[in-house]
Structures are given as structure tokens and as C-alpha cells.
């Protein structure tokens, strides 16, 4: 304690103490001289004054802090004195740290974040998979994806399976059921809107452990046939539409023209179990039939058909029960259930197998869709961080080399070795900190950019990544560590005990000392590594860009430009059957009047929007239904003409066909698949295996146009008038071919829909081209981000190369001066510097090329129309890198050639 007081006193009267120490030492020296020593001998006997002074001072603590402050001040001065060095090092680190933080934040949001429910780790999702399409599944509604080559997998089950499996209290406390989210026509007061909502079982909220924010949540009694219709709102919708007003509870709203009472509001933050969708409200499953066009048929298929798969399920495991235990029990149970639903032994041959997946993070579609791309992006930004760290290391090495003399001078003046090392470390850490701080801004900007890229114009995109502080901390620590490691090596080197050579060295030699030839050094190795990594990234970007351009240049068989796409659902507002068809044709007549609209048409789904329905094709006189992946589009007769799909045989659809709709236009693929070598005109077929399905007569054949996706082509497609099977008519997509910008017609379209019916909202407005762009969002994201990353990596590497070479030239000023004084030409000097740049680049390119040869196979599944080692992409990348690197190396080379020999030699 008293010690501390003494120290404080010292700190306050510090100049005094310093003076006293000085005087005391001077006194000692004077006494030595007085006793007959020569001044030089006296000094030698006394020791190094500077370091003794420093040592005495360091006896009073705070010295550590004080020195650190001093170091920081000095480091800041160094940074300000070398703006080029500071800017390049900090900027490359900022880009590396920022890009990594942004990507990892997304990865975390998509892959690792839990649902905002109680104990999310207890949740498990039920799914089934089968090696082939199981015969017991005769109808499905919801998601289904491929499993292996020919198999299927899906989270959908029949309602009967839910009833059979739901009670197993030993394994799980609850089993909840729910459907995917779809849009409904919701009328609050007078205003109709198209709003997303989902059906959930009565135990949904209690099973998930979601608290109410107002009113009450759904209970089992709400979810029974004939229960009075109740709806629970999502918190965000309640806030947005009802201003969070508690008096909204008990109010009535109309959903698809059926009145529902608002029972309550789910807790804030909860928006269903699918992170990708964002329902505004939740309805009991048993309200599904009343909201559909044919309640009776809907109820039969949903609740009594054991072969109709539509309900998704999740369980909450009991504590201590593992996923495997529950899966063993449930899959045996489900296997018995599925076997019992087979009508024939043949149907029982392939049965769906039940499996469980962890459900704590919600459904996995989003993860499946984005996790692999994100891992690729993650690797790319990881490489960028590596390049940035190598850059920092290289610049630090280069600078340490130029400061050898400074260090030697300071050591000889009595600076402690550790003291100098500490100061150099302070400088590197300060640099890393500056880079990290700038990286924070890059990360914020990066997150916004990636959100924009992934959302890709989709409305109500719900994935919101927040800045991930642990990740930022990690990347930041990494950069500080690289600053420390690569700052330490040269610091230790330049403070080696024997500093006389460094003092003698002057300012001239160093780097590839004359006569020693080329020796690979740490700096060179780093440079080569940077170039190799950059090449990898540039090749990657090239592959992704070529993929995107291949996708864009696909001939889809119709004209995608200048088409406004408007989605309208009159069925949800209460129009049905013939009235609905009249409503749509009335709208079409109005749309055709809009100035600038050249033609207008409608179809039940848009082209190239990944809608699949695959009905069976029945041809009279042929044995069984023909599975062929045939697609059916219900269209307005002007469809083929408006989309510019030419009819090559027979006639197109005509207005009169709306009245007698048992006709079809098929594409060439359909004709050749079902009627090879025959004239298909006049032939008949039916869609669907129901004996009641009408026979359609082929009146024309069109060319093939893409139906499902940009990548797939050649599905057999049937175009029939939308009045065919009018009972199934629901929403329609209106395609308006415009003379100029399609969006110019939006105002008129909205007015006309309003005029036609105030109860029918427009669900979505976009263009055909944008809609198609959405289907290749992943490829586009890759191409855009890949290009960004490549530019980033290139600039960082070039900046590093420039810095390294500029320092090297600065250090060789003397040598170059001598060469020039002896008659070397400027051209020769430039060539000499560039030769070194070229050697480094060649080594880097060779290694990068080899690595790319293997690495590109990892991204092959993301490519379209090219192979992993696409030669144009690889050679273009090598060319770009060469050009960039030589450009970066040319500036220092030029500077070397401008050295004035006289000035350089005077400097010796």
C-alpha cells in the first residue's frame, strides 16, 4: 500500500526524479574521472547510460502501461508516416474479416439458429423416404423431393397416420401436425389482401411451447369438425394490421370468404416452424375443407383417404429419449400402417420408410437449398482471409527488413531487445485492430448485400441474418494472431544480438543480396501462396459466371421479354366455376384495352416457375396409364400466340374453344412420345386416371418450350382451355405482352382489378423474366458473389505484391544506383524487377492451377453447361491474374528505373 503511494508520488513528481537520477549518474561518472579514469573508460565501466536510465525508470511500475501508451503513440506515428503501407494492410484485413463475418453470420442464421420455442432440441421432424415411388401414395399435397436416383422423400403423411402415431407418451409428449404456408384472401373490414397463412393442429402451440401475446392460442376443441372458426394471428401481422390493438381479439375477419373469429396472437418472434415462410395467421386443420372449393370432397380426401399424403408432423421427445429410440418405434408402427393401406400386393412392394430428423432449427428446406452453396461461399471467403493475412504478414516482413538499420541503431543506443520486440508487436496489433474495426463496416455492408442477393426480389423473405459477434471476434482474433506471428518473426530477427552487420549495411543491400542469387524466403513463399489462392478464386468466379451466362443464353422456346405477370385468385373471394371463368375472361378483355399492351393471356401456372403436376395420360386402346412426366397447362386461347410459341401443325387454340373445351394443343415432344410416326391431329387422350375425365382431341402441335425450369427441357406438354374442368379452376397468372417496360402497365392493371371486384386482391406482380431469374437465384448469387470475391482477392494480392516489390526496390536503391552509374539501361532495370515478379507469379500460377484441377470438382454440381475444369474459364483466369500482377509489379519497376544514380549514391 505504502509502496503504491510512493509510486504515485514518483509519477506526480516525475520530471524531478528524472533530473535527480541524471544528476546522480553524472556525479558517479565525475567521481570516476576524478579518480584517474579516462572519460571513455569511465563510461565503459559504468555501463550503457540509456538502458540503465530505462531500467531505473522501469522500477516504478506503471512503466508497462506507460511504455505501451508510448508504443501506441509511436505506432500511430509510423502508420501516419507510411499511409500506403497502412492503407493496404488495414484494407486487406478489413475486407477479409468483413467478408468472413458476413458469410458466417448467414451460415449461422440458416444452419444453426433454433426456433424461438421452448427446448427446441427436443423437437424432431417426421419424414418418409422410399427407393421408388410408393404405390400406396395415390395423392399428395406439399413438398416432395428426390431421394437418390429414382426415389422420393417427403415430410407429408395422411391424416390417418397422424391419428395412428400421435399417442406414444413413453417416447414423446406431443405430436403436432401442420401444412405448408399458402396465400389466402383475407378481408378485414372492406379491404381485401392476399396474406400467407398455415393450417396447424389444435395442440400446435401448446406442443411447441409458444406463449400467447394476447388472447388465447388454439386448443384441441378449435380443431374438430364443425368447431366455430377461430384464427390465431402472428405477432408481426397483429402489430402491422391491427397496430397491436388488444381489442382486435374476438373480432371477425373473412378468410377466403369464410368468417373467422380472432382468438389470440402468438408470442413475438414466432412465425411457424419453417424459417423460410412467414405466415401471418394460423388456422385449425379442420378448417381446411370449408376454405376449399369443394368442402365435401376435400374433407373426404384430407381426413379419410389413407393414401393421400399432405400433413407434416413434428414430435417433442421426452427427456432422455434419443432420436434413434423414437425412430425405431415410430418407423415400425408406420410400416404396419402403410402396409395396411395397400389395396393390392403390388402396392405393398415399395412402402415409405419413416425417419426422424432433429427439428430444433425448424424445417430443413432452406438449409438444404442454401447450406451447400454457403459452404462453398464460406470456403471462398476463408481463402480471402488467408490472402489478407498473408498480405499483412508480407507487408510486415518487408517493412521489418527496411527497418533493420533503425532497429540496430536503437539497440546500440541501449534499447532492450524485448522492449523493441514489444514495440514492433504493438505496431502489428494496432494495424490488425484498425483492420478489424474497418472490417466491422464491411461486415454490415456484406450482410445487407447477401440478404439482397439471396432474397432475390422475393417479397416477405424472412431470413434475417444479424451480425454475428462471436464470428467477428474469431476472425478478428485470427487477424491479430497473424499480425503477432508475422510481426514477431522479423522483430526477433532484426533484434538479434549481433547488429553490427546491419549497421554497416547502410540503406542499400538486402533482398536477394548481390551474389547470393535467388533464395526463396518467407516473403516470397507468402506471395506465391497469395497468387495461387487468387487464381483459385478467379477460376471459381469464371466458372460461376460462365454458368450464369449459359443459363441466360438458353433458348426456352418462347419470348420471355416484356411480359408482365399478374397473379390473381378470384376463387378465394367466392367466385366459382362458370362465374370464375367469366370473371377471368372479363379481366382479360379489360387488360387488352390497356395502351401499350400488345396482347394478354392467362394460364393456371406461369412458365418456367417450377410448378409440376404430372397427370397420367390415358390413350384409348392402350393398356395402362402412360407415365411420361407429361405437364398440363390450362390456358387462355391467346397463350401460345402471346408467349410466341409457334404452332407447327394444325391450329392453335381459339376463342371458340372456351365454349367447347374438349380440345388440346400438344407440343412436339408429346406427339413424338405418344404418337411416334403417326399424325397426332384428331387423336384423343384423357388426363388423369379417373374414368370420368373427358377425352381431349388434339387440334394442333406446337414447338417445344421449357415448362418447369431453365435447365430441364423436353417434357411433353399439353395446353388446354382453362374452361376445361372448370370445377378445379382456382387462381390464374395473367401474362401481358407489352410494347415497352412491362411495369408501366401495373397501375392500369390494379385499377381494372379494383373495378372488377373490390374483394379480389392482386397476389403478386412481377415479370416473366424476373420470375425466371428467381429460379436461378443460386447460380446468380454464386456468379455475383464469386465475381466480388475474385475482384477482392485480386486486389488484395496485387496490393500485397505492389507493397512487397515497392519496398524491395526502395531497399535496393543504392544497388540500382550503382548499376545505373555503371551504365545499366532503364529498360534493363525494369526487366530485372519484373523478372522477379514474373518468377513469383509463375510459381503461384502453377500451384494454383494444380489446386484448381482438384478443387473445381467440388463445385461441379453448381455448374451448368460446362465441366469442372472449363478451359476458357481457367485460361481467362490465368490471363487476368498475369495482367493484374504484372500491372502491380510495373509501378515499382518503373520507380526503380527512375532512380537518380547520383542521388542514390550520395545516400550511401
Amino acid at each position: 500500500m505504502r509502496e503504491l503511494l510512493r509510486r504515485l508520488r514518483f509519477l506526480l513528481g516525475r520530471p524531478e526524479y528524472e533530473r535527480e537520477l541524471e544528476e546522480e549518474m553524472a556525479h558517479h561518472l565525475a567521481m570516476l574521472e576524478e579518480n584517474g579514469r579516462l572519460p571513455a573508460a569511465a563510461r565503459r565501466q559504468f555501463g550503457n547510460l540509456g538502458s540503465l536510465r530505462e531500467e531505473s525508470r522501469s522500477m516504478w511500475t506503471f512503466a508497462f502501461l506507460e511504455q505501451t501508451a508510448q508504443d501506441i503513440r509511436y505506432a500511430l506515428r509510423m502508420m501516419a508516416a507510411n499511409p500506403l503501407f497502412t492503407a493496404t494492410a488495414a484494407l486487406s484485413l478489413a475486407l477479409g474479416i468483413g467478408a468472413n463475418t458476413a458469410i458466417y453470420s448467414f451460415l449461422d442464421a440458416i444452419l444453426m439458429r433454433s426456433l424461438p420455442v421452448a427446448n427446441p432440441h427436443q423437437l424432431a421432424i417426421l419424414k418418409w423416404h422410399a427407393a421408388r415411388s410408393p404405390g400406396v401414395i395415390k395423392g399428395a399435397n406439399g413438398r416432395m423431393s428426390r431421394y437418390g436416383k429414382t426415389g422420393r422423400e417427403s415430410p407429408n403423411f395422411p391424416f390417418a397416420a397422424y391419428q395412428a402415431l400421435r399417442d406414444n407418451p413413453a417416447l414423446f409428449s406431443t405430436m403436432i401436425g401442420y401444412t405448408y404456408v399458402q396465400n389466402f384472401n383475407v378481408t378485414v373490414g372492406d379491404a381485401a389482401d392476399s396474406i400467407p397463412g398455415g393450417f396447424v393442429s389444435g395442440n400446435y402451440f401448446s406442443g411447441l411451447g409458444v406463449p400467447p401475446a394476447a388472447g388465447r392460442l388454439l386448443v384441441e376443441d378449435d380443431d374438430r369438425p364443425g368447431a366455430s372458426p377461430a384464427v390465431v394471428l402472428a405477432y408481426a401481422y397483429w402489430q402491422g394490421r391491427f397496430n397491436g390493438d388488444p381489442s382486435a381479439m374476438g373480432k371477425s375477419i373473412r378468410i377466403n370468404d369464410v368468417p373467422f373469429t380472432i382468438a389470440g396472437v402468438a408470442g413475438p418472434g414466432f412465425s411457424g416452424v419453417d424459417p423460410q415462410s412467414n405466415p401471418s395467421f394460423f388456422l385449425p386443420i379442420h378448417q381446411l375443407p370449408p376454405l376449399s372449393p369443394h368442402p365435401g370432397a376435400e374433407e373426404r380426401s384430407r381426413f379419410f383417404d389413407k393414401n393421400f399424403y399432405w400433413l407434416e408432423m413434428m414430435i417433442r421427445l421426452r427427456p432422455g429419449v434419443t432420436l434413434e429410440q423414437a425412430q425405431a418405434a415410430l418407423s415400425a408402427q408406420f410400416h404396419r400402417f402403410a402396409a395396411g393401406t395397400a389395396a393390392t400386393p403390388k402396392e405393398a412392394e415399395v412402402l415409405p420408410d419413416l425417419s426422424l430428423e432433429p427439428g430444433g432449427a425448424g424445417l430443413d428446406y432452406l438449409r438444404r437449398e442454401y447450406s451447400k452453396p454457403l459452404y462453398v461461399l464460406m470456403t471462398m471467403v476463408g481463402l480471402i482471409l488467408a490472402i489478407a493475412c498473408a498480405n499483412l504478414a508480407n507487408l510486415l516482413l518487408a517493412r521489418a527488413a527496411t527497418r533493420r538499420r533503425e532497429m540496430a541503431v536503437r539497440l546500440s543506443l541501449g534499447a532492450g531487445r524485448w522492449r523493441i520486440v514489444r514495440q514492433l508487436l504493438t505496431e502489428s496489433v494496432l494495424l490488425a485492430v484498425t483492420g478489424g474495426a474497418m472490417g466491422l463496416f464491411v461486415a454490415f455492408a456484406g450482410i445487407r448485400m447477401i440478404t439482397w442477393l439471396i432474397a432475390n426480389g422475393r417479397e416477405n423473405f424472412t431470413l434475417h441474418a444479424a451480425l454475428n459477434w462471436p464470428v467477428l471476434g474469431f476472425t478478428f482474433a485470427l487477424s491479430v494472431a497473424s499480425g503477432l506471428v508475422f510481426g514477431l518473426t522479423p522483430a526477433l530477427q532484426s533484434t538479434k544480438a549481433d547488429f553490427t552487420p546491419a549497421l554497416k549495411e547502410g540503406r542499400s543491400q538486402g533482398w536477394g543480396r548481390t551474389g547470393h542469387g535467388f533464395r526463396p524466403r518467407l516473403g516470397h513463399v507468402l506471395m506465391v501462396g497469395q497468387i495461387a489462392l487468387s487464381l483459385l478464386l478467379v477460376i471459381g468466379a469464371g466458372l460461376f459466371i460462365r454458368t450464369l451466362s449459359n443459363l441466360h443464353s438458353i433458348d426456352v422456346g418462347f419470348n420471355r421479354e416484356n411480359i408482365l405477370l399478374v397473379s390473381i385468385n378470384g376463387r378465394q373471394a367466392g367466385y366459382r366455376d362458370a362465374a370464375l371463368a367469366r370473371f377471368y375472361s372479363g379481366l382479360l378483355d379489360r387488360f387488352r384495352e390497356i395502351p401499350g399492351v400488345r396482347s394478354a393471356t392467362a394460364s393456371n401456372v406461369p412458365l418456367v416457375a417450377q410448378y409440376v403436376n404430372n397427370p397420367d395420360v390415358i390413350i384409348p386402346g392402350r393398356p395402362s396409364p402412360q407415365h411420361s412426366g407429361t405437364e398440363c397447362l390450362k390456358v387462355d386461347p391467346a397463350f401460345l400466340e402471346t408467349m410466341e410459341i409457334p404452332v407447327v401443325l394444325g391450329r392453335g387454340l381459339q376463342r371458340e374453344d372456351l365454349a367447347s373445351p374438349a380440345v388440346a394443343v400438344v407440343n412436339q415432344k408429346f406427339a413424338s412420345a405418344f404418337f411416334p410416326g403417326e399424325n397426332p391431329l384428331g387423336r384423343q387422350f384423357a388426363l388423369g386416371s379417373d374414368p370420368g375425365d373427358p377425352m381431349l382431341a388434339i387440334v394442333g402441335v406446337s414447338t417445344n418450350a421449357h415448362y418447369n425450369s431453365l435447365q430441364e427441357s423436353g417434357e411433353p406438354v399439353v395446353y388446354i382451355p382453362y374452361t376445361q374442368g372448370v370445377a378445379d379452376l382456382r387462381g390464374m397468372f395473367f401474362e401481358l405482352r407489352t410494347a415497352g417496360d412491362p411495369f408501366a402497365a401495373v397501375g392500369a392493371v390494379r385499377r381494372m382489378v379494383q373495378d372488377a371486384s373490390r374483394a379480389v386482391p392482386i397476389t403478386e406482380v412481377t415479370t416473366q423474366a424476373l420470375r425466371m431469374e428467381q429460379t436461378i437465384s443460386q447460380e446468380r448469387t454464386f456468379a455475383n458473389l464469386g465475381a466480388c470475391f475474385a475482384v477482392l482477392a485480386l486486389s488484395i494480392a496485387c496490393v500485397g505484391l505492389y507493397g512487397t516489390m515497392a519496398y524491395a526496390v526502395a531497399r535496393r536503391t543504392g544497388e540500382i544506383g550503382i548499376r545505373m552509374a555503371l551504365g545499366a539501361q532503364r529498360r534493363k532495370i525494369i526487366a530485372m524487377v519484373l523478372r522477379e515478379v514474373f518468377a513469383l507469379t509463375a510459381a503461384g500460377l502453377l500451384i494454383g492451377y494444380g489446386a484448381a484441377h482438384f478443387m473445381t470438382y467440388l463445385v461441379e454440381s453448381f455448374l451448368y453447361g460446362i465441366k469442372a475444369n472449363d478451359p476458357p474459364a481457367v485460361w481467362a483466369a490465368i490471363g487476368i491474374l498475369l495482367a493484374a500482377v504484372l500491372a502491380a509489379g510495373y509501378a515499382p519497376a518503373r520507380r526503380a528505373s527512375r532512380i537518380d544514380p547520383a542521388a542514390a549514391l550520395r545516400n550511401e
Binding site: 505504502r2 509502496e3 510512493r6 509510486r7 514518483f10 535527480e20 537520477l21 544528476e23 546522480e24 549518474m25 556525479h27 558517479h28 565525475a30 567521481m31 570516476l32 576524478e34 565501466q45 559504468f46 555501463g47 550503457n48 547510460l49 540503465l52 531500467e55 531505473s56 525508470r57 522501469s58 522500477m59 516504478w60
Partner: protein, 110 residues
């Protein structure tokens, strides 16, 4: 005069404290001269290192310092042993003797 030896590590404080105890207040040069002469020039204080040691002893409170006129009319800083410094000296002497005795036992002829 035999070869000179550097002071054993860790004993500098003890030597300074003992010198001050025997001779009363002294300045830095005096202390170094005293150690050298008393040891018949065997112990060689690296003179400069005296001052960091003295600073540290000031902090620890083992010595106090004051400026006075020296014998030959120069201003010099005189260090004086404090009671605490005397206690520290006893501690260090005991420790030193213990170690020396131990070494002696190890090296004494069999």
C-alpha cells in the same frame, strides 16, 4: 590482485544494505567503492546497475534518499537505511548464510 568476480546474482541488494548498515548514509559512488575495496577488489559492481537497484529499494522503502554536499563539495544523493531496510538485510543475510552453509556441506572433503 586476483581476477575480479561479478557479484553473485541476487546478492546486490544484500551488499548495498550491509554497506549502508556499516558505514551510515552514502552516495552511489561511495557504495560501489566501499564494496570493491572491502572485498579487496574481488567483487566488481557493474557500477551503472547500482542505480536501478537503488530505485527499487526506494520503492520498497528499504532506504530513503536526500541530497547533501559531499566531502569534496559536490551535490550528491545520500542513501540511508530505514528500519524496514534493516529487517530486510537480516532476512537476506540469514538466507545467504543458509545457502552458503548448504553449499559448504555439499563440497566439503569426504
Amino acid at each position: 590482485m586476483g581476477p575480479k568476480s561479478d557479484i553473485l546474482p541476487g546478492t546486490l541488494y544484500m551488499l548495498i544494505l550491509r554497506s549502508l548498515a556499516r558505514m551510515g548514509p552514502m552516495h552511489g559512488y561511495g557504495i560501489s567503492q566501499f564494496i570493491q575495496q572491502t572485498s579487496d577488489d574481488v567483487l566488481q559492481v557493474e557500477e551503472g546497475s547500482l542505480y536501478p537497484a537503488l530505485q527499487r529499494m526506494l520503492i520498497k522503502g528499504w532506504v530513503t534518499a536526500e541530497w547533501k554536499q559531499s566531502e569534496n563539495n559536490r551535490r550528491a544523493r545520500y542513501y540511508r537505511l530505514t528500519p524496514e531496510g534493516r529487517k530486510q538485510m537480516t532476512r537476506e543475510l540469514n538466507e545467504f548464510e543458509r545457502v552458503i552453509a548448504a553449499i559448504a556441506r555439499v563440497i566439503e572433503p569426504a
